[in-house]
Subunit: 402 residues, 2 copies
């Protein structure tokens, strides 16, 4: 019995109560072989433990048991959007990741600078991982081309990665990749996967030909591969679905972009946790839903840096006193996936969650940790149910049926 | 958020890690009124308890809470195939159960020898449950008929049950049953349920008429009823979906047949648990997924034999030391359904499961039993999630989405 956004939309009602969703990226971990404790269990977290004691805890699966979520599906699930149904194309994701202001008709693609030999066969799909500076320099050579009234923007991402955005009329993104995802063969021609996409395919191929000519003398980055042609999807906005005025406080562009895609207001903030809380305080009166994003825990996990992950969790905990003093009606603390230091990567392990509100039915958990959350009152559940739970605890949902 | 095989196929990647799935048929039980302990709780199982301590435990529902699984849906679910979506026709199931080598165009049906009176009305749908020997004798009389270039095989199953397989060109299995599933009425004519099935219907009816003539003097088995006409289904293979080289070690034909249906390699083995483990050891280098099937627990449960079921569980436990010494990356131990001695039948009760891997997040369960698994870290979950979890723990799944 999946609860759809349509159903939530019918029973959601506006109210002055406030919800804060604090996402600690990559929060979940694995027990260290020496101590038997996860990163979260190692950290000293008096405020999180206090919220766990007064609130209700559990564990969430972002996509499904065993499935390791990317950042985008992990966050969509937390916002209540089924990450399998609400799919975002690769090109759009990359554009969002660099804060590119995508317009509704734009077609975006992910690009790789690559190396081809004299016969035109790919010898390195990543052009020896050229530096980000070199990438920016090459993007400048390609940026701003106009082909058949279509304006083409080319923006660097990192190393060999870039984004191309095609802007103009009648562009349909159902296009095959030019990237064959293997070496030893030539890049493929982009083909239209639906009759209406013919014009877009022709423009993409003309762009690739121009890029090849321009890049010819820039070995190893002497060719460009494109994939994941896509348009900004039309997702129902959080305002419509939940009757909320939602705001996002995030220092990384990717998360701001995702939040914008579902209609959140993006608040300018700084790079530290304290900056994010100051932004929250300044804007507290103007919104009734805040998404706060902490990136450092995920990066520390990916770097395999136990001490840093623990230390960032402790900084977040310390900053929580300010959040608690604002007295939001509902506080949810969780992550968008696990990033165990031992694995140095995102993982499939379920993520601890705590929900505090005056109306939660508290359990006996008095510590915010993977093992304590296992016996929490929320049990283990899909992350798409987090928003309905937060809304209910903020008394923002009327009853279903008579 | 249902995870489809299509999604798994996209994120699965080949790797040298190895998974062993040990299915103890009918494992789950009910507490004995005198001891308060289930069959598994009564057994002395030091190795299972050791794996439970190091691993993560839970309880699975094979089909859904309250639904008692047959052996086929129970196993399909464990292999990750939604047993409601992936349906196998009755005729095919019976053919698989006797190791009949079904070819893609074959149409199989389940047969009953039955008794009809002089007016042709059924008086006993099971012909007084004739012996299996008698059944074999009668099948020989019908086996090998050729009607309109269709070769017909008739093979005994048990008591009054047999299988008919029609082999030849242009056979479409959308046919109604001749078995009316009640006494006092005549067998029904087989009718084509789609226009293309006309030829198959005609051949089935001609076969039934020939059978009636041949059986006339063999009262009480003087007629044959057919039902469940079906063709071998085309399920995606485990190799394709999971990028695995899977092998099955099972002494009963039914389980070998099911495994073959989804593309597992069938390894020749003996009838004891030790035989199965010796087969595993011999073939350990050549595959990366092993399905080991233990039948005795289910048979003992159906016979209501507590001591035998306990003793077989203890034999399995004892044999586990050999499995553990091979050091597979992932070991999963569970059952395909419960068969409580007290019920003498398959039941709907969820089945304990343990998963051991270097990357599992261990829980506090230190005993493999129904009651201990209740507080396990895997929680209670659908059996179709077992394979994604095993794959994740073997680091054979890449992340979903960016």
């Amino acid at each position: 019995m999946d609860i759809s956004l349509e159903l939530i939309k019918e029973i959601a009602r506006p109210s002055p109560t406030k919800i804060v969703l604090l996402v600690i990226d990559g929060l979940g971990g694995l027990p260290n072989p020496e101590t038997g404790k996860t990163e979260l269990e190692t950290a000293n977290t008096p405020y999180l433990d206090q919220l766990a004691t007064k609130g209700i805890c559990g564990l969430i699966d972002l996509v499904a048991p065993g499935i390791t979520p990317g950042s985008s599906p992990g966050h969509l699930a937390l916002f209540g959007y089924d990450p399998i149904r609400f799919n975002i194309g690769r090109g759009v994701l990359e554009a969002i990741g660099i804060d590119f202001d995508l317009q509704p008709g734009d077609v975006a693609a992910r690009g790789n600078f690559c190396t081809v030999d004299k016969a035109g066969r790919i010898t390195d799909r990543r052009a020896g991982r050229i530096s980000t500076d070199k990438c920016a320099e090459l993007c400048q050579l390609l940026d701003g081309l106009v082909i058949d009234n279509i304006k083409i923007s080319v923006c660097p991402v990192r190393e060999h990665r870039f984004v191309v955005v095609f802007r103009g009329d009648n562009l349909v993104p159902s296009l095959s990749d030019s990237d064959p995802q293997q070496v030893g063969v030539a890049p493929k021609a982009v083909t239209a996967l639906s009759p209406e996409a013919g014009r877009a395919a022709s423009i993409a191929n003309q762009f690739i030909a121009r890029a090849q000519a321009i890049l010819a003398e820039h070995h190893p980055a002497n060719m460009a591969l494109l994939r994941g042609f896509s348009r900004r999807p039309h997702f129902p906005s959080m305002g419509e679905v939940y009757k909320l005025r939602p705001a996002a406080i995030a220092s990384y562009p990717m998360y701001r972009g995702l939040a914008k895609l579902i209609g959140m207001e993006i608040l300018e903030t700084g790079t530290t946790i304290e900056d994010e809380l100051a932004t929250l305080k300044q804007n507290y009166a103007d919104y009734d839903f805040f998404f706060l994003h902490i990136k450092g825990t995920d990066s520390a996990g990916e770097d395999g840096d136990l001490d840093r992950k623990v230390s960032i969790i402790e900084q977040v905990d310390n900053a929580l006193s300010k959040l608690i003093s604002m007295e939001p009606d509902v506080i949810v603390v969780t992550g968008d996936h696990s990033t165990p230091v031992l694995l140095r990567a995102h993982s499939w392990h379920p993520v601890p969650i705590l929900l505090y509100s005056k109306w939660c039915r508290p359990d006996k958990v008095n510590e915010f940790s993977e093992s304590a959350c296992l016996s929490g009152g929320l049990g283990r559940f899909p992350a798409t149910q987090v928003m309905p739970l937060a809304m209910a605890n903020a008394l923002k949902l009327t009853k279903f049926g008579a």
